[in-house]
């Protein structure tokens, strides 16, 4: 195809179209933004995540405290041996065995993880090349 010298001159048309009535409906949707922003969220809904976090911390504190109290209260030796025997021991040989139950992460999950981590394109390209 011969390139005309005037391709960069004159008026330039964007070769795309839109569905009929699109811009009218677009304006209506955009005009609704301040209204959506104005909707009042009840205080208890706003506080819910913080209350949940506080409850988790409190529960961890109570359970941890009870557990540590039990350990410290009785005979150090006997209870220590009892505790150790309850801790599962894994032969290092088995740690490096592959299992069939490997969770596969979807591409979408990985992409979202990388984007949220703030990794730059240059860093990603470097890692992919390695």
């Amino acid at each position: 195809m011969a390139v005309k010298n005037d391709i960069f001159e004159g008026q330039h048309r964007t070769p795309y179209s839109v569905p009929e009535g699109y811009f009218a409906s677009l304006q209506d949707r955009l005009q609704a933004i301040p209204e959506r922003d104005r909707q009042v969220v009840p205080l208890w809904v706003k506080a819910r995540p913080y209350v949940a976090l506080a409850a988790c911390v409190a529960m961890a504190f109570v359970i941890g405290n009870a557990f540590l109290g039990r350990v410290a209260a009785g005979s150090a030796d006997a209870e220590y041996r009892q505790l150790i025997s309850e801790v599962p021991y894994t032969d290092p040989y088995y740690i490096f065995q592959e299992t069939e139950d490997v969770e596969e992460y979807s591409q979408e999950f990985l992409a979202d993880y990388i984007i949220e981590s703030g990794m730059t394109m240059q860093e990603l390209e470097y890692l992919l090349e390695k």
Binding site: V3, F8, T14, Y16, V18, P19, F23, L26, E108, E125
Partner: protein, 178 residues
Amino acid sequence: MSDQEIISLYKEGRCEQAFSEIVRSYSERLYWHVRRFVVSHEDTDDLLQEIFIKIWAALPSFREEAQLFTWLYRIATNETLNFLNKKKIRAALTFESITSELERCVDADPYFDGNEAERLLSKAIARLPQKQRTVFCMRYYDDLSYEQISEILGTSVGALKTSYHLAQEKIRIFLEKN
């Protein structure tokens, strides 16, 4: 309504009315500005919602150091480039190129109504590096001056002229080959 009148509305505390006028005056212009970058109508529609939500949130912090027009285009351009960067990361994970995806969008877009020459030109533009594509589209389609583009992108006029010239050359070469 002119930009000055919109700013006056905003200064009088009538923010919603000012925003309403911005939507009326700029929604279609910003739509085409974004569309030339992302090609897909659906992506453009989604992005435009995000852009105007950002505009509404940032309106209280608008200072008259920049013109309203420049400020709006800057928000739209930054959001669009962020969107394309995220798309680039997603494409990299599947060892695909975002350039190929944009070219595919040109071919597959049901709302593309150009002739074959315009299709080739759109593909040539999709193949440009991001910075050159940004400058080229703003100069070629939006017909903005280098000074206006410089205010929007925060790049010197000299660098913009170089980017535009390089973009032109790459497009010429692509069109000659095809």
